[in-house]
């Protein structure tokens, strides 16, 4: 018969050539590919090169005996099934072999039936073990998937909780804005209409930002890298921030230098990353009533490999507890004014760019962010 890798290999060990020859023919007839060995040393060598699933060995042999072969084999590969051949009166040895986990023993003279029964046992054990391993593997996989799903669900749960809280506040503001406009109308206090409209406008802006944040979080697309002129890019960011600051008593200072810097980045994502940080700087200044004037400095530098963005503000600063939590999703100290998306997303975007973000902040004094990304994007290994 053809020998394929699916043909089962058996190593047959017996010091008597006659017995080996007879058994080899019987086993070959049963469909096995037989490797015969006349002693223990030869048997173990064959075992290592052929890696059979079944070994049949005589128990009493000069030199290394069957028990020792059994122990060696079980030691090297416990999944191998070993059938012992015993003579009359070898009961003690036979029992000992079972202790070392031989699957069965057959007594001389060997009948085909006894051989077949022993082999059937061995094969059944092999199949059961294989199935068991498959079950265990799929069970482990299932458990892993379940815990991943659980993580996902619980973060989704936190997410929905936080967002719905935020959305409830925003909806109430919309109600409020509309009510103020209507009330100004009915009471003919036309000057008050502006107040209602301002609330509506600001709320719509915040709803937009929140929806974009959620979309970013839900989407997690790959970076769309392009070569970007950094000065131009930073200029666009600065304009957005300057418009936001507008009439507040905060001075915004660009410190871009003259260098022409090119950097590979996802401009849309990185734009949001910086805006989130600058937004926080504005909040920190607006909230701070302890200083007469406020200043935000946005600067850009480069070294050989990196572009470095720096954002200074002299706003409220952070205490230690806040500093430890700022990158956590949904961590916010701003009550109804914050969701805690901003820095989580910035951090994520910067990491995707293989960059770093560092913070230095002193309560009541101010905060400094340092963001560094490689000019040439580094691919993931």
């Amino acid at each position: 018969m053809a020998i394929s890798e699916y043909t089962k290999k058996i190593i047959l060990v017996d010091d008597e050539k006659d017995i080996r020859d007879v058994l080899e023919i019987t086993l070959a007839d049963m469909g096995y590919h037989v490797f015969a060995a006349g002693n223990g040393k030869q048997a173990l060598e064959l075992f290592r090169t052929e890696m059979p699933q079944i070994v049949i060995t005589d128990i009493k042999m000069p030199g290394m005996d069957g028990i020792e072969i059994l122990r060696n084999i079980k030691n090297e590969n416990p999944d191998t099934e070993v059938i012992m051949i015993t003579g009359h009166g070898d009961t003690d040895l036979a029992i000992k072999s079972l202790k070392y986990e031989a699957i069965d023993f057959i007594t001389k003279p060997i009948s085909d039936d006894a051989l077949e029964i022993a082999l059937k046992r061995a094969n059944e054990k092999i199949i059961t073990r294989r199935q068991l391993r498959k079950y265990t593997e799929s069970l482990e996989k299932l458990l892993r998937e379940k815990s991943e799903l659980q993580d996902h669900l619980s973060s989704l749960g936190i997410m929905i909780g936080s967002i719905s809280h935020g959305i409830k506040g925003l909806l109430t503001r919309l109600d409020g804005g509309v009510y103020l406009v209507e009330s100004a109308h009915t009471n003919k206090e036309y000057d008050d209409i502006g107040e209602g409209l301002d609330i509506l406008k600001e709320t719509v802006t915040r709803i937009k930002k929140m929806v974009l944040d959620i979309l970013y979080y839900a989407k997690e697309r790959d970076l769309k890298l392009e070569k970007v002129n950094v000065l131009q890019f930073a200029g666009d960011v600065a304009v957005v921030i300057e418009q936001k600051i507008d009439d507040q008593h905060i001075e915004f200072h660009r410190d871009f230098g003259q260098d022409n810097i090119e950097c590979e980045m996802d401009a849309e994502f990185f734009h949001s990353a910086l805006i989130n940080i600058l937004d926080n700087a504005i909040d920190a200044c607006t909230e701070d009533r302890s200083k007469a004037s406020h200043k935000i400095i946005f600067s850009i530098r480069q070294d050989n490999e990196n572009v470095i963005f720096e954002i200074h503000d002299n706003g409220i600063g952070m205490d230690t507890k806040t500093k430890e939590n700022i990158f956590n999703l949904f961590y916010s100290s701003k009550g109804s004014k914050g969701t805690g998306f901003g820095l989580f997303i910035s951090n994520d975007i910067i990491k995707q760019h293989r960059g770093t973000i560092n913070v230095n902040s002193v309560a009541e004094k101010g905060t400094y962010f340092n963001i560094k990304i490689p000019k040439q994007h580094i691919e993931n290994k």
Partner: protein
């Protein structure tokens, strides 16, 4: 007769304005606080007839303010209405005369206010 006074506590300026207008239009006077600490100072000087309280505020949580309030003997009988996005999740405001989630129904809120202080 003097109008009844309602103390509004919410960290969201827009919602404070909304409640203020709503109460003024219905014939009540209002005092405004943007967090629990501000509200603390106010109740030291005046005793409002009713308080509306947001729970989720920076600096001082609504529940903590409430706990402190109910410990003062001249304040502990002031009726409190909770108006909060977190309403329903917090059971520490047991004696509130009303609990409204956000967004709230202004007619129902006014009904509760009228029922409580006339």
């Amino acid at each position: 007769m003097e109008n009844k006074k309602i103390l509004i506590i919410d960290d969201d300026q827009a919602i404070v304005k909304y409640l203020e207008k709503l109460f003024n239009n219905n014939g009540y006077d209002t005092i405004l606080a943007h967090d629990g600490l501000e509200a603390d100072d106010i109740v030291k000087e005046t005793t409002p007839d009713l308080i509306t309280l947001d729970l989720d505020m920076p600096r001082e949580w609504g529940t903590r303010f409430y706990r402190k309030l109910t410990k003062k003997k001249e304040c502990k009988d002031i009726p409190v209405i909770v108006v909060s996005g977190m309403a329903g999740r917090d059971h520490s405001i047991k004696k509130a005369v009303g609990i409204f989630g956000k967004p709230f129904d202004p007619d129902k809120l006014m009904a509760t206010v009228k029922e409580t202080i006339g």
